[in-house]
Symmetry: C2
Subunit: 433 residues, 2 copies
Amino acid sequence: MYYEKQKLSWSQRAAEEAETVASISCSGHGRAYIDGFVVDGKPICECYSCYGGTDCSLFPPNCPADVESVDPLFLEPFWMQKAASSAVVISGWHRMSYFWPNQSFISNELEKTIRKIHAIAKNAITDGKYIIFGVGSTQLLNAAIYALSMDNYPAAKVVAKIPYYSLYNSQTELFQTQHYEFEGDSSTLRNKSDFAGNVIEFVTSPKNPDGNLRSPILKGPNVKAIYDRAYYWPHYTAIPAPADEDLMIFSMSKLAGHAGTRFGWAIVKDVNVYTRMMVYIGLADMGIPKDAQLRALTLLKVVAEGDGKQLFHFAHQNLRDRWEKLSQIFSLSKSFSLQRIPTQYCTYLERARDPSPAYAWVKCKRYEDQNCSEVFKVAKIIGRPGSRFSARDRYVRLSLLKGQHDFDMLIRRVKQLVSQEHEARAESMSGFY
Amino acid sequence: MYYEKQKLSWSQRAAEEAETVASISCSGHGRAYIDGFVVDGKPICECYSCYGGTDCSLFPPNCPADVESVDPLFLEPFWMQKAASSAVVISGWHRMSYFWPNQSFISNELEKTIRKIHAIAKNAITDGKYIIFGVGSTQLLNAAIYALSMDNYPAAKVVAKIPYYSLYNSQTELFQTQHYEFEGDSSTLRNKSDFAGNVIEFVTSPKNPDGNLRSPILKGPNVKAIYDRAYYWPHYTAIPAPADEDLMIFSMSKLAGHAGTRFGWAIVKDVNVYTRMMVYIGLADMGIPKDAQLRALTLLKVVAEGDGKQLFHFAHQNLRDRWEKLSQIFSLSKSFSLQRIPTQYCTYLERARDPSPAYAWVKCKRYEDQNCSEVFKVAKIIGRPGSRFSARDRYVRLSLLKGQHDFDMLIRRVKQLVSQEHEARAESMSGFY
């Protein structure tokens, strides 16, 4: 510690404000924030989904479990436990310049901390590679396509194996450039050996939505891969070996839970790809907010503290318990099935490891349940339809990353759904005999 | 004030750290930051340009005045005066979600504060218009082109009047889309009435580099304008009337000086243009960092405090004094001339107002001085060459926005340059007679 216990001067007001707002009671069903909507000079409670009223004490009985979105709030309790070490004070004059002292858009200390965390998690080799920051991993996905395709005529074809994250498609098509276009499922190009142009494959491993580790579908001299490694952390998966690909993308939101900070990074082998990605970030945004970099640094220093295992332990236990609970209920069902995730040896834990995926990828098995998300909606569970992943609507994705209240609600609703199935079966059998 | 004087708990550590780091002495020629490069457990001094040594006490005698970049550090002293009100404490669990409570990417309170500040400055009409946030005004420039051009076949032509900000060109060409392309100077299209496609004109007013107010060059049913209003604040210009255009872009960096926060906003009349810009921001980045929005809110609340005139007063006085000093020196020169900026009535000040531009746009008048930035470089003044604005290199832009030490150095070097000119003239005349 390089600071000494002291009487505060200019930071006292902001610290008092932060603590006062944090102590606003929202009945345990919501939270007040310093930048929240102000009524009568005070920020109001922002209630968790379903809860309402000025103090979040109201709960409508028929409220659905909303597990459509991805907000990784299951990690919020970790950060509340780490309140002192994870807080940060930003002065009014903090880093007003466009640049860091090395004239780049990249914080040196943050880059160092990221390399350290990958070494702790044993999930990626960063030695001899460059690191680039982006506004979320989101921005880096496109920066990577740009960097890999700029010399291409005809336009490079961008593919991903179904089911895939819908942003790959919508973002790639947003810019409608002359250099690349979205082609759809990876396998559509597998047999087209006559396609002369370059191919860029998004390889999401672990996969969103199903949590399984994946390899590229396409290979060859004109195929380049962007490894979306957002979920390759001990939270979500066994780590069979550190990833060592040429272009890997990670995000703050899936590592630490701070989706709102919009901070991601790419680890890049080739200097030309690195340089082009930096040009992209520079021209699109002139670098990313230093406030977001400071926040990421503060939080990631906490992650790296001590033996650096606390966050991974917390996240893994939490998600493993959630998965166990959910799969136990679905195991009683004949109408719905969950994805299978094999038990795998994990070099981080140094043992075989049970599944703890970020999402349940549910299949509706009954012939008539073509639209699985509708079936769940009727049961008051809001999931993301299979078609959003370019898969069949016989599938639905349920997020297991949300806050505890959302997960508890999900469990309640899934129990009801499965017990209704049993009741219906019992009824139909009693009618049959 | 909705908080009470209290003993701090979890925020104490961060507050102590911030104050300890802020109190690190760098001989008055630099600054230490909490996210600075750490040596022996302490962040090191980051010295202002030219200064060196661990405590920034070294000053090499031949160091040039670097006024090439735009870092608006002239506003730093304002924020140091406002240390207590402009500090912010961010908890480890602050806004981890992707969304604000209204499920958007936009902070309500920040939007309200921005509207209030425009009303105070009398520089823009926001009533009945939408506000969008971006990663700096930088990102919004392209989001605006995207929104204005998506229906266009053939591709829209994007133009700007020379001299123009180089990013208009480089950013527009970065994406190489099928919907727009950069065409160059606005006047190239003035006489091409046969061009059937749409035209998008960047109208920078006040103009970067010369600080004068401008109107569009092109008019007609197929011409749309993006008003880059970054410099339309009482700091830099008279405000003859509030701007009321359909698409105006502003930035935190030019209003408050926080270039590093990468925060800008667009004010948009048409709901379809607004929606498309939001789609762009959503797909490119999934919104902008909440940490940057919180920082902007904290700072802009200080700007709006009291009568809301303190920042404008500080900035205007500072830049007017700088301009006076610089123009006085150049008035003694026959080799160099500055741009002319008329005295204009300002509705904000309610009186006629002397110039206080952000930049000096210097012309080298001697026939042989074709490369003006070279002439200045020899005189140890680093400016931005005219060609960077697609103008002739007979011009050079000198930033007046940097910190006081950089400005003082500029003045010293310009004095030397002009006195050398006098000496040379005296010599040549003595040789002649």
